[in-house]
Assembly symmetry: C2
Homo-oligomer: 138 residues x 2
């Protein structure tokens, strides 16, 4: 609990009760989280609060946003020392077509691409889709 407070404070986010809960929820989950997921988990919380909390988290580098192609924005905690802005820190994500969950494959970085003349890349997003570990084991 204390660690969460500290983590948030370090990143310039005031550790309110709600925020700690959200952080905890995300930390306990192994998969990327959509706003709706949190909403369902905390029935009493308002969507706006969750929305803005996630935005704040994102801005302050607590979480990173994931676009897994489902059309729903998802989020996952950044690892300690994660520097999402830096291109070499971009890991890829895996979306399971079966269980519909998305996981960070943090150890897998996006390979470098040689773009044509004139193109300048600032960001990259690589999502692999298929069957995840859990589902293929069944």
């Amino acid at each position: 609990m204390k660690e969460i407070e500290q983590r948030l404070t370090e990143n310039g986010v005031r550790p309110t009760a709600m925020r700690i809960l959200i952080y905890k929820y995300m930390a306990e989950s192994e998969v990327a989280i959509a706003l709706t997921d949190i909403e369902n988990a905390f029935a009493k919380a308002d969507r706006t609060t969750l929305f803005r909390t996630l935005k704040t988290f994102e801005q302050k580098g607590v979480v990173h946003q994931i676009d897994d192609g489902t059309g729903v924005q998802k989020y996952a905690l950044c690892e300690t020392g994660c520097n999402c802005e830096l291109e070499q820190d971009l890991h890829l994500h895996f979306h399971c077509n079966n269980c519909n969950e998305t996981v960070c494959l943090t150890e897998h970085k996006i390979p470098n691409i040689n773009l044509p003349e004139g193109y300048v890349a600032e960001d990259a997003n690589l999502v692999l889709k298929g069957i995840c570990e859990k589902c293929s084991a069944q």
Copy 2:
């Protein structure tokens, strides 16, 4: 005109007037197209028709869908002989943060990724974001 009709027929799509127009519009564009784009281009066309036309095109392999991270589905014509289902045919896309356009970089394939044990990839999506050729030239 005749070529379009032929192309559609070849792919098992009945070449109606509307469909030919949509195909033509997409062929003349160098960037990926959103449903709204077509809607604006053909004011009199109904959104449902466009929506279903694109779905049909996609199913029949006339176009492929692109998720560029903007939250809006986009589409681009497949090249002749393009086999979007096959993984080795997956090219990457570039989204310009300035002009907001997305282009296919058909000559750039998505590099092969060694996934962890248990993961089976069926599909991949790689989007680079930054400044495109046109915008960086200005």
